[in-house]
Symmetry: C2
Subunit: 460 residues, 2 copies
């Protein structure tokens, strides 16, 4: 149980927590832009000071890239379970600046919304956890578990340094489970535990036809057109029911359980509103699944880009020399990225005609992720979310990928529970990124409730 004074402390310190969030959001820690190197360091230093002020032991640890901030609750007790909160202090670039209503690094408050780059993704979300621990500690309570905060500075550019850090520091990061607040919830009335992510396998296909762009009048008709071949090959990869036609593609897909489908159905979904928000006249997805299932619990093969021939103004009457496309397959448990990549490559090779030369380049994939949504830790998370938000927690799957979570599993042998505080209109990665102060406050209360819930579930 969360001591009542902890929740009261959170409420009483709301304005200070908001002003600290603003301080943090003023640091333009854009990891993608090398001119912000000093801001990366400044972000880590601000965060470490904030952790110290909250009563944590905190240090800045060097890596091969931007430093990580590592903080721990004091007096760690090996007899208690340890949980790790992961987050990132780096933010996305802010351009195009002209699309922001106010400057991205001058936080602006408008009612219960606050606007700034990185305020939702991810500063406000991990700060909520730090604030909650402060409440526990400043109220003089011992947490029932040990906590580690691991906040990195390269999430928006691939977490390269953190992968290395995990490999060499697995011992000191050992934990029973991880909590990450970096996902979306459907709304304030629907806090959500995200228990699964899709994996990914990228593939580039290039078809080479004639050794130069040919005059379509002098040659067209007697030589194959790589752009047409590409269209025919790619077009054949999806059937009318929205299923991927590559043989074996669905072999390892674990079907959704009735429990999961029931839980996903609790998330409100307004198709007309969804269509309108995307600006499309009709949706399209694999027959037999709801849109939320299609985009989180079913695998896909997407064309991310097409390139061939002349793309400028006007026309150019050529048979293009080559055509290429970038593809990504989104994968669900238990699909294996390497196996899927091999299946798709083999299939494309098999259907490629002798009139073109095919080159297939697979990229670094990521495995899908899932934890048992009915397991004790998942259920503990859901109870804490209910406490924090005052509404029943729903179970959702994430359609995207967070590759570092597979690395946590690999190096720390621990599962990750995703308890996001971002709302669907937070504009992560877009102009006018915002964060809800209601979500911030609910997140602190959820976090305050989380540690006793997880501790007792871990003991069960």
């Amino acid at each position: 149980m969360t001591p009542p004074d902890v929740l009261a402390y959170i409420q009483e310190n709301e304005e200070r927590f908001i002003s600290e969030l603003f301080e943090y959001a003023r640091i333009p820690g854009i990891s993608a832009q090398s001119e912000h190197a000093a801001d990366m360091r400044a972000s880590a230093e601000w965060l470490a000071r904030r952790c110290l002020a909250a009563g944590l032991e905190a240090e800045i640890r060097e890596t091969t890239g931007n430093p990580v901030v590592l903080a721990r609750t004091p007096r760690q007790d090996p007899a208690r379970p340890t949980f790790l909160v992961y987050g990132h202090y780096d933010v996305q670039p802010a351009d195009p600046l002209e699309l922001w209503t106010s400057p991205p690094f001058e936080p602006r408050r408008d009612g219960r919304n606050v606007y700034a780059r990185g305020i939702s993704d991810n500063k406000g979300q991990h700060l909520a956890h730090i604030n909650a621990v402060e409440a526990w500690l400043k109220c003089g309570h011992d947490l029932p578990c040990n906590l580690i905060f691991l906040i990195e500075g390269e999430e928006e550019v691939g977490s390269k340094a953190l992968y290395g850090f995990l490999e060499t520091h697995a011992d000191e990061l050992a934990c029973k489970a991880l909590v990450v607040s970096d996902t979306e919830i459907p709304g304030m009335a629907h806090p959500a535990l995200c228990y699964s992510l899709r994996g990914m396998a990228p593939l580039e296909i290039r078809l080479d036809g004639p050794n130069r762009d040919l005059h379509s009048g002098l040659f067209g008709g007697a030589v194959d057109n790589p752009a047409m071949v590409l269209c025919q090959m790619l077009g054949s990869l999806r059937d009318a029911s929205g299923r991927v036609t590559v043989p074996g593609f669905y072999d390892d897909v674990v079907e959704l359980s009735a429990y999961e489908r029931g839980q996903m159905a609790r998330v409100p979904f307004d198709e007309a509103e969804f269509r309108a928000s995307l600006g499309v006249g009709a949706l399209f997805g694999e027959a037999g699944f709801t849109p939320d299932e299609q985009r989180a619990a079913r695998p896909t093969l997407e064309i991310n880009g097409l390139t061939s021939g002349y793309q400028g103004e006007g026309g150019k009457t050529i048979v293009p020399s080559r055509a290429s496309a970038k593809l990504t397959m989104r994968l669900v448990p238990d699909q294996d990225p390497a196996k899927i990549l091999a299946l798709v490559k083999n299939h494309l090779q098999a259907i490629c005609p002798p009139t073109v030369r095919i080159t297939l380049t697979g990229g670094q994939g990521g495995a899908p992720y899932i934890v048992d949504p009915a397991g004790p830790l998942a259920q503990a998370c859901m109870r804490a979310a209910r406490t924090g938000f005052g509404h029943d927690c729903v179970l959702v799957r994430g359609g995207g990928s967070i590759p570092i979570i597979a690395a946590f599993k690999r190096h720390l042998d621990a599962d990750t529970y995703m308890l996001g505080l971002a709302l669907p209109d937070d504009n992560a990665h877009s102009p006018d990124e915002k964060f809800s102060l209601d979500a911030y406050m609910a997140g602190m209360k959820m976090s305050a409730a989380l540690w006793p819930e997880l501790t007792s579930a871990a003991g069960s």
Copy 2:
């Protein structure tokens, strides 16, 4: 019959004719580049002087664009038939300059080849006709017909001014038939009369899906992918036998006669060599036709360019907001560009799913062209080519389009006979453009023989 002294005169003056060709080729008359405006004027002036020196009456006529050079044989006799020789003094841009063995406007002779931009396309070809007329006139012979030379300066940029000039000056350009030397022949042993050209109808298709590029993890699977829809739509436009699947596409195609197929079969064709020259492992074209028939006598639908989503280095995991393609249909007699465009547009509208918005933009098309290859003027051309080259003339169709020829037909009510002097390796529009001096000389002799042949055929 061509007087023997005319042919002797041509031979005797070979070196002067070559040196005049070099003079002409030194003028960088690139119509596409406005900094060459003075060179356009200089080209026209050089040409007018050359015509005067040849014994023609010549003038530079202003147009809405670059001037045209208009020259006539002296003492035109309304009782005789009039023929018009069309050509163009403007040349293609020369870049990329670094791919030229020698500077493009410093003509270089290597054995019987001469290298310079525009020397084959089209300076050498119309100069051969002027030289031939000089030979007739300087030998003191009256030509049996009236000749008009119409040499324009905007062929490489669409002949816009000439279309206007034709409209307003049709009376003074009235002729029985036109001769154009601006096409290719298979080789020196195979002079050719080109009696048909393909027409063209350009079309751009754009599919708009979601109102922005979407995260393929968060949305992929529940919303259609415009790039995939484009591939499926375009891929369906051609069947496995290489036929265009648009209903009605072939309705107006006049099938090749046995005479035509027999004539086309006389043109030597080495499939292995053709494949190797294109760098493809296998050819592909409409079943039931030879490659030469496929690329000149059969209609096609080609994708000239494809654009969608992310095309840079690496990957970007998006469902692209839109996808587009540039298409051209090459048409054969009696296909009508407007009708074909409407058929293709209607078909694409009909097969477009409701998940995307389609925008179709048709461009300016051109009608296919044909003259009766068995008619008296065609046969006269073939006899003249035999005289000039010393080999039987073959009949060929051109796969490309020369839209001005349809305008000649429209405004002058006269057919055009294409007696090209370009060889397949002349590199028109490419670096190291060249012209064969053997073709130059054979062209003069052909031209010298052409006027009596055409005159007597016109009377028949």
